[in-house]
C-alpha cells in the first residue's frame, strides 16, 4: 500500500503520447492542471471542472475520459494520450483533424481538443460507426460556436476515410 500524503508532491510515472513520462503531483492535483502547468501539454483545455463540458477529454488506456475528474496520481502506470499526439508529424494534420478543418468544424477551438480525443478513441474502437453512434458519443461535449453539424459531418467523413485507408493515420 502506498499512502501519498497531502501537501507533498509524489512521483507519477506514466506514458504520455507514447513516451515515458515522470512528473510530481500532490494528491489533490487534477490531471488537467498536471498536464497543462507541469508538463506543458496545454492542448487539453479546462472548461467546467465538473465533468460536463468535455473540453478536457483525454485518452486513458485507450478510453476517452475527463481529465478534470481524474487525479494526476490516479494515472500512475497508465497510457495517456492527448491532442498533441494525433497529428502524424508536426507539419501535417491527421485524417480526423483534416476533416475538421475541411468542414469548418471548429471556430474558437477551445472545445476541439476534447472532441478530437473522444472521436480518436471511438474511431479506433469502432471503425464503421453509424451517424447515430457518433452523435451519441458527441453528446458528451459542449461546443458553443459551431452548432455541431459540421463536427458530425467531419467525424463521418473521417470515419469513411479511415476505413478507405485501412489504417488509423495517414497523410492529409
Amino acid at each position: 500500500m502506498s499512502r501519498l500524503q497531502a501537501g507533498r508532491r509524489h512521483s507519477v510515472r506514466f506514458s504520455l503520447n507514447g513516451k515515458p513520462c515522470t512528473g510530481e503531483a500532490e494528491p489533490r492535483l487534477l490531471l488537467t492542471d498536471f498536464l497543462r502547468h507541469q508538463l506543458a501539454a496545454t492542448g487539453t483545455h479546462v472548461g467546467c471542472e465538473h465533468g460536463v463540458c468535455g473540453a478536457c477529454t483525454v485518452s486513458i488506456d485507450g478510453k476517452p475520459a475527463r481529465a478534470c475528474l481524474t487525479l494526476a496520481v490516479q494515472i500512475d502506470g497508465c497510457e495517456l494520450r492527448t491532442v498533441e499526439s494525433i497529428a502524424p508529424s508536426p507539419d501535417r494534420l491527421g485524417i480526423l483533424q483534416s476533416a475538421f478543418k475541411r468542414n469548418h468544424a471548429l471556430q474558437c477551438g477551445f472545445c476541439t481538443a476534447g472532441i478530437l480525443m473522444s472521436l480518436d478513441c471511438f474511431l479506433r474502437a469502432h471503425p464503421r460507426p453509424d451517424e447515430e453512434s457518433i452523435r451519441d458519443l458527441l453528446c458528451g461535449h459542449l461546443c458553443r460556436c459551431t452548432g455541431y453539424t459540421p463536427i458530425v459531418r467531419a467525424a463521418i467523413e473521417a470515419a469513411a476515410e479511415l476505413v478507405d485507408h485501412g489504417k488509423e493515420k495517414t497523410d492529409a
Binding site: H45, V46, C48, C108, D136, L142, Y148
Partner: protein, 999 residues
C-alpha cells in the same frame, strides 16, 4: 438566386477574387494540434501569484465583518484583499446614467447579488488560494432581496442603491410621429405582456486576467481575454487611477469564444490589477465555471408590454413599447446599452411611422448584465414578433400575411425608421418569397396538417427580423435627455482601424484591433488583402493580438456588434488600397506606363495592356525599405499604412431623440415546424429554415458557421437555458448540470438560405451576420409552439413541465383518503416543506424535557459542538451536517417559541457555513400513543441558499429530509425508545430504522 453557401473548399480560379471563397482557415492547424495560445496556455513571469475570489452567498446583505486573519496565516497565502482594500487603490467604475451611485468590482460594505466578490486571496497557486478563501469568516446581516424587475418598481421594494430613486436607474419616454392619434383611429389595439428570461452565451473558455504593476512607472500591464469594446479601457484607467497611457491592455492570440460575454471580464481587470499592486507581484486569475455561471455577466431579462394599433387587415399603424430592463445589481458599463442598442429598430422590419416608448432601467439583486450575442435584439424581437403572431390570431389572419403587409417597401431603401435608424439596403419581400419557395413552406404545412390529423401537437412559427450591425458609439447617449447630452458633448461614430505593413522582403502583414474570439478574422483579412495586392491568402500574415500600448485602436475597437465584416475587414481593404495606390505609382514609373494601366495579379505588378511588362510584387513593395530615394516624388513611403474609418451615417442622437443606432441592417426571415411530444411535452424542432441577407458574403463557410452557432445558442435560449433565481435572490443554476447548454442531440441542422443585397455604406458591401439568429430563432420557436398549443403567453425557456397544465388541464386526483399535498410552488418559491412522525417509547414529558435541554440537543444533533445557551429558549451551536460525501460545518442559531408544554413547540433557526446558509421553522407536537409512548409529529418549512443552492438545488429537498430524519432518529435513540417504523412515512421510516436500530 439564393444559394446554400458551400462549405467545401472552393477551388480558386486564377484571377478571380479570394473574397467570397470558403478557403480553409489559417487558424485551424494550431487549434487542431493543441498549439492554440489561449490565456491560460501562455507562460507568465516568474513569481506570478494566483488569485481566488471569495463570493457572497447572499443576494442582499450588509457585511458586518470580514475576518481574514486565518487566511493570511495559511501556507502559501501572500495577501487577502477585501472591498475596503480595493477601494483604497482604485476609483469607482463609471456608471452610464446620471446618478450619484458607485459601482465597485468588489462588495464594499454590502453585497447585492449571489456571487459578488467579497475578498481576493492571492497565493502561490490556485489550490492554496482556495484554501485561504475557505478560512475567511464573513458575517452578514441579511437584507430583503428583490429579483423581479416589476417588483423592483414597487414603492415598498428593497432598495439596492440609495442614489437611484427606488430601484430605477433611468426612466425615459419617447414619442415619434403621432402614436396617440394612430391608436385612437385604429380599429384594434392588440397588446401582449412579455417576460424575457436571463441567459448567457457562456463561452467554454472562462475569463482570465494576468496583471502586473510597475511602481517605478506607476503603470499597469494587463493581459486579459477581454473582447472590447475598448471604450472600456477608459473606464479601466479611471478605475485604476492612472492615465490611459499607463494602462497597457493586451489580449492573447486565441480566445475560447466570447459572444459578447468576455466584455464582462473588465471588473476583474480592476480587481486583479489592484491585487498585483497590493502584493507587488504579477497576479493571475482564471475564472472557474461556478464563478462564471453565478457571477460573470448575463444578458438582461426584460418585462415588456407591447401594444399595436392595427387595422382590420393586419396593417400596424403604431407601436407602444413599455420596457422595464433588469440590469442586475450594478449598472456596469456599457449598460444600459442593451436597452438602447435596438432603439432605432423598435419597428423591426416594418414600415410603422408612429411610435411611443417608455424605457425604464431597474436594478435587482442579480448578477450585473453586459454584452451577449444579440444584445437587446432577442428581447425586442421576442415581444415584436410574438405580437405579430397574436395580431394574426386575434384578427383571424395568416401570420405570414401580417408580416408581408407591414414590411418596408422594397423601393424604400435607404429607409429612415420612425426612431431614426437608417436601414441601408434590402428587399424583404424578395427574401421572404425565396425563403418560402426554397425553404419548402408548402411542404411544411402539409407535414403540419398530417401531424395534426394524427392528433399530434404540431405548429409553425415565422419571424422577420432586421439585424443591426456596427453600433454607433453614440446610441447609448439616447438614455440621456437632450439637455444632458448637450452638456456631455456629442458621442457618435464607429472608428475602425487597420494597419497593413510591408517588410524588407516585401511580404505583407495585417494588423487589426478586432480581437477575434474564434470567428476566423485572420483568414478573412488574408483574403481581403490578397485580392488588393494580387497575392494569395497564404502570402498575407495577419496579427489580431491587441496591445493598447502599440497598436492603432479607438474606443470602438473590439469584437462586438457584428462589426468585423462590415467595418474592420473593409478598413483593412482601404489600408491595403492606399498602399497599393502608391505602389502602383512606383510600378508605373518602373514599367514606363501610366497608373491606370497597372494591375496587381499573380504576385506581380504589371501592365494591363502588356502583361509581360511586369515586376514582382515584393520588389515594388520593398523598395521603400531599401531605397526610399528611388521612389517617385510625393509617394512618401510604402512600408506601413494605418487607416481609421468611421462611417458618416453614424451621427449623434438629435434633439428629438432620433438615433441611427447601427450602420448596417441585414434581414432574416425564419420559419420552422415544431412538435410538442404528448408524453414528455418536450419541443422537437422538426424543420428550421433561416433566410439571410447579410450583404456581400466574404467567406460563405464562416457565414454559415456564424448562423449555425447563433442558431444553436438560440435553441438553448428557447428551450433550455435560464439563469434561474429564487425569490430570495438565491442563484439556482450554478453548474452545467443546471444551466443547460444544448448538445448535438438538441440542435437540429437549420436549412440556411442566402440572398446578397450589398450595403452601400461599407467598403466591401458586407453587413454583420453573427447575431441574427439569437434575435430571430427564440421567438420563431415560441411562435411555432404557440401555434401548436394555441397559447397566448409563451415563456422561455420552454421547460416541458411548464406546459403540463396547459396541454393536459387538471391533474388526476389521488385516490380517496390521501390528502392532496400542495407542492406546486409559484415561480421562485424555494421553500422546502415536509412533515413526518416518529414514535418513541417514552412519555411526552420526557421527550419535552430533552427537547429543551442543550446537552441533549448537543447529543442529538449530529456533529453538534459548543452549544451556547443564550437563554432558556435560545441556543447557538456549531454543527457538522453531512449528506453522502458532502459534509460541512455550520454556525447554527436556534430559538424555541410558542411553547405549550408538554404538547407542542416551534423550533426556528438559521445556520450558515462555507457551503451555504439555511433558515426555517418547524412545529413539533407530542401526542401520547396510549401505550406509554409518544408520537413526535413535525412539520417544517425551510429555505436554503448560497453555494449549495447554486450547485445542488436538485438535491436540496431530499437533503433536508435526510438531515431532519437524522435529527429525529437521533432524538428517538436518545429517548431510548424504539422507533416504530410502521407508522412513519416512507423515507423517514427507513432512516429511523437505520439510525435508530443500528448504532
Amino acid at each position: 438566386m439564393a444559394e446554400a453557401a458551400s462549405l467545401s473548399t472552393a477551388s480558386h480560379e486564377p484571377g478571380s477574387p479570394w473574397v467570397g471563397q470558403s478557403i480553409p482557415r489559417v487558424e485551424d492547424a494550431a487549434l487542431l494540434t493543441g498549439r492554440g495560445r489561449f490565456i491560460d496556455d501562455i507562460g507568465v513571469r516568474p513569481g506570478t501569484l494566483h488569485a481566488a475570489i471569495l463570493r457572497s452567498p447572499h443576494a442582499h446583505a450588509d457585511i458586518v465583518s470580514i475576518d481574514s486573519s486565518a487566511a493570511k496565516r495559511a501556507p502559501g497565502v501572500f495577501a487577502v484583499l477585501n472591498g475596503e482594500d480595493v477601494k483604497a487603490l482604485t476609483a469607482s467604475l463609471v456608471v452610464g446614467v446620471k446618478a450619484p451611485v458607485e459601482c465597485w468590482p468588489i462588495a464594499v460594505g454590502r453585497v447585492r447579488y449571489v456571487g459578488e466578490p467579497v475578498a481576493i486571496v492571492v497565493a502561490a497557486d490556485r489550490y492554496l488560494a482556495e484554501d485561504g478563501a475557505d478560512l475567511i469568516e464573513v458575517q452578514y446581516r441579511v437584507r430583503p432581496a428583490v429579483v423581479d424587475p416589476l417588483a423592483a418598481l414597487n414603492l415598498d421594494a428593497p432598495v439596492l442603491h440609495d442614489g437611484f430613486a427606488g430601484n430605477v436607474a433611468s426612466d425615459r419616454t419617447f414619442r415619434y410621429g403621432d402614436p396617440e392619434q394612430a391608436f385612437a383611429s385604429a380599429a384594434h389595439r392588440i397588446s401582449l405582456d412579455i417576460r424575457y428570461p436571463r441567459n448567457s452565451c457562456t463561452p467554454i473558455e472562462t475569463y482570465g486576467v494576468v496583471a502586473d504593476y510597475d511602481p517605478s512607472d506607476d503603470a499597469y500591464d494587463v493581459l486579459a481575454n477581454f473582447q472590447g469594446p475598448f471604450s472600456i479601457h477608459a473606464v479601466l484607467s479611471r478605475a485604476l487611477r492612472v492615465a490611459g497611457n499607463r494602462l497597457r491592455l493586451r489580449t492573447p492570440p486565441d480566445s475560447g469564444g466570447s459572444f459578447g460575454v468576455k466584455q464582462g471580464v473588465f471588473p476583474y481587470i480592476v480587481l486583479i490589477a489592484a491585487a498585483a499592486r497590493a502584493v507587488g507581484r504579477p497576479v493571475k486569475w482564471i475564472e472557474d465555471r461556478l464563478e462564471h455561471l453565478a457571477a460573470s455577466v448575463s444578458a438582461t431579462n426584460r418585462a415588456t408590454t407591447l401594444s399595436a394599433a392595427v387595422e382590420d387587415n393586419g396593417r400596424v399603424l403604431a407601436l407602444d413599447w413599455d420596457q422595464v430592463e433588469d440590469c442586475g445589481a450594478h449598472l456596469r458599463a456599457p449598460e444600459p446599452a442593451t436597452l438602447y442598442r435596438m432603439h432605432g429598430n423598435l419597428t423591426g422590419a416594418y414600415d410603422i411611422r408612429h411610435l411611443a416608448v417608455r424605457n425604464r432601467v431597474v436594478v435587482t439583486n442579480k448578477t450585473p448584465t453586459g454584452l451577449n450575442r444579440g444584445f437587446g435584439g432577442p428581447q425586442v424581437y421576442f415581444a415584436l414578433e410574438r405580437l405579430v403572431q397574436r395580431i394574426a390570431v386575434e384578427l383571424g389572419l395568416d401570420p405570414l400575411d401580417v408580416i408581408m403587409r407591414n414590411l418596408i417597401p422594397a423601393d424604400g431603401f435607404p429607409y429612415r425608421t420612425a426612431s431614426g435608424a437608417l436601414l441601408d439596403s434590402g428587399n424583404y419581400q424578395e427574401a421572404i418569397k425565396r425563403g418560402v419557395n426554397e425553404g419548402g413552406l408548402a411542404e411544411l404545412k402539409s407535414r403540419r396538417d398530417a401531424a395534426r390529423a394524427q392528433g399530434r401537437l404540431y405548429g409553425i412559427g415565422y419571424t422577420a427580423v432586421v439585424e443591426p450591425s456596427v453600433s454607433n458609439m453614440g446610441y447609448i447617449t439616447t438614455v440621456l435627455t437632450p439637455a444632458d447630452r448637450r452638456k456631455a458633448g456629442p458621442k457618435n461614430g464607429a472608428q475602425a482601424t487597420a494597419t497593413v505593413a510591408i517588410d524588407p522582403l516585401g511580404s505583407v502583414t495585417v494588423h487589426v484591433a478586432s480581437v477575434p474570439q474564434g470567428q476566423g478574422h485572420r483568414t478573412v483579412l488574408s483574403q481581403v488583402v490578397a485580392d488588393v495586392f494580387g497575392l494569395t491568402p497564404a502570402d498575407i500574415r495577419v496579427n489580431t493580438e491587441m496591445d493598447t500600448a502599440r497598436d492603432a485602436w479607438s474606443i470602438a475597437s473590439g469584437n462586438y456588434a457584428s462589426r468585423f465584416a462590415p467595418a474592420v475587414a473593409g478598413t483593412a481593404k482601404l489600408a491595403a488600397g492606399r498602399l497599393s495606390e502608391r505602389m502602383a505609382r512606383v510600378a508605373a514609373s518602373q514599367l514606363n506606363t501610366e497608373i491606370d494601366d497597372i494591375a496587381f495579379a499573380g504576385g506581380s505588378v504589371r501592365s494591363k495592356r502588356n502583361p509581360d511588362n511586369k515586376v514582382s510584387f515584393s520588389r515594388v513593395a520593398a523598395l521603400s525599405h531599401w531605397s526610399p530615394g528611388a521612389l517617385p516624388d510625393g509617394i512618401g513611403q510604402t512600408i506601413r499604412e494605418t487607416v481609421f474609418w468611421s462611417p458618416p451615417e453614424l451621427t449623434a442622437p438629435d434633439e428629438e431623440d432620433h438615433i441611427n443606432s447601427s450602420l448596417c441592417h441585414g434581414f432574416i426571415f425564419d420559419f420552422c415546424g415544431v412538435e410538442v411530444d404528448r408524453t414528455t411535452l418536450q419541443t422537437r424542432i422538426d424543420r428550421y429554415v433561416t433566410m439571410h441577407d447579410c450583404g456581400t458574403i466574404l467567406h460563405p463557410g464562416m457565414v454559415d458557421g456564424q448562423i449555425r452557432g447563433g442558431f444553436a445558442q438560440a435553441v438553448g435560449a428557447a428551450l433550455y437555458e435560464e439563469y434561474a433565481y429564487g425569490s430570495d435572490g438565491s442563484f439556482l443554476t450554478g453548474t452545467f448540470a443546471d444551466y443547460l447548454l444544448p448538445t448535438v442531440a438538441e440542435v437540429p441542422d437549420p436549412a440556411i438560405l442566402h440572398m446578397q443585397t450589398p450595403s452601400p455604406f461599407t467598403p466591401l458591401g458586407s453587413k454583420g451576420v453573427g447575431e441574427g439568429n439569437c434575435m430571430s430563432t427564440p421567438v420563431c420557436i415560441a411562435n411555432a409552439v404557440a401555434d401548436a398549443l394555441g397559447l397566448k403567453d409563451v415563456e422561455l425557456p420552454l421547460v416541458p413541465a411548464k406546459l403540463a397544465q396547459i396541454v393536459r388541464g387538471d391533474e388526476p386526483m389521488p385516490a380517496k383518503g390521501r390528502a392532496i399535498e400542495e407542492t406546486a410552488k409559484r415561480g421562485g418559491d424555494r421553500h422546502l416543506r415536509g412533515k413526518g412522525e416518529a414514535v418513541v417509547g417514552a412519555p411526552a414529558e420526557r421527550v419535552w424535557a430533552m427537547l429543551l435541554d442543550p446537552e441533549t440537543l448537543q447529543a442529538v444533533i449530529p456533529g453538534c459542538q459548543n452549544v451556547e445557551k443564550i437563554s432558556d429558549t435560545h441556543f447557538r451551536a456549531d454543527v457538522t451536517i453531512g449528506i453522502g460525501p458532502m459534509k460541512g460545518r455550520y454556525r447554527a442559531d436556534v430559538k424555541l417559541s410558542d411553547l405549550d408544554p408538554p404538547h407542542a413547540v416551534t423550533l426556528g433557526g438559521s445556520a450558515e457555513g462555507a457551503l451555504g446558509f439555511g433558515g426555517g421553522e418547524g412545529r413539533i407536537t407530542l401526542v401520547p400513543t396510549g401505550n406509554g409512548g409518544t408520537a413526535i409529529r413535525y412539520v417544517y418549512e425551510a429555505a436554503i441558499g448560497g453555494k449549495v443552492a447554486s450547485i445542488g438545488g436538485r438535491l436540496l429537498d431530499g437533503a433536508a429530509r435526510v438531515i431532519i430524519g437524522q435529527f429525529f432518529a437521533s432524538l428517538a435513540r436518545k429517548v431510548g425508545g424504539n422507533p416504530d417504523a410502521q407508522s412513519l412515512p416512507s423515507l423517514l421510516s427507513r432512516a429511523l430504522r437505520l439510525f435508530g436500530g443500528h448504532r
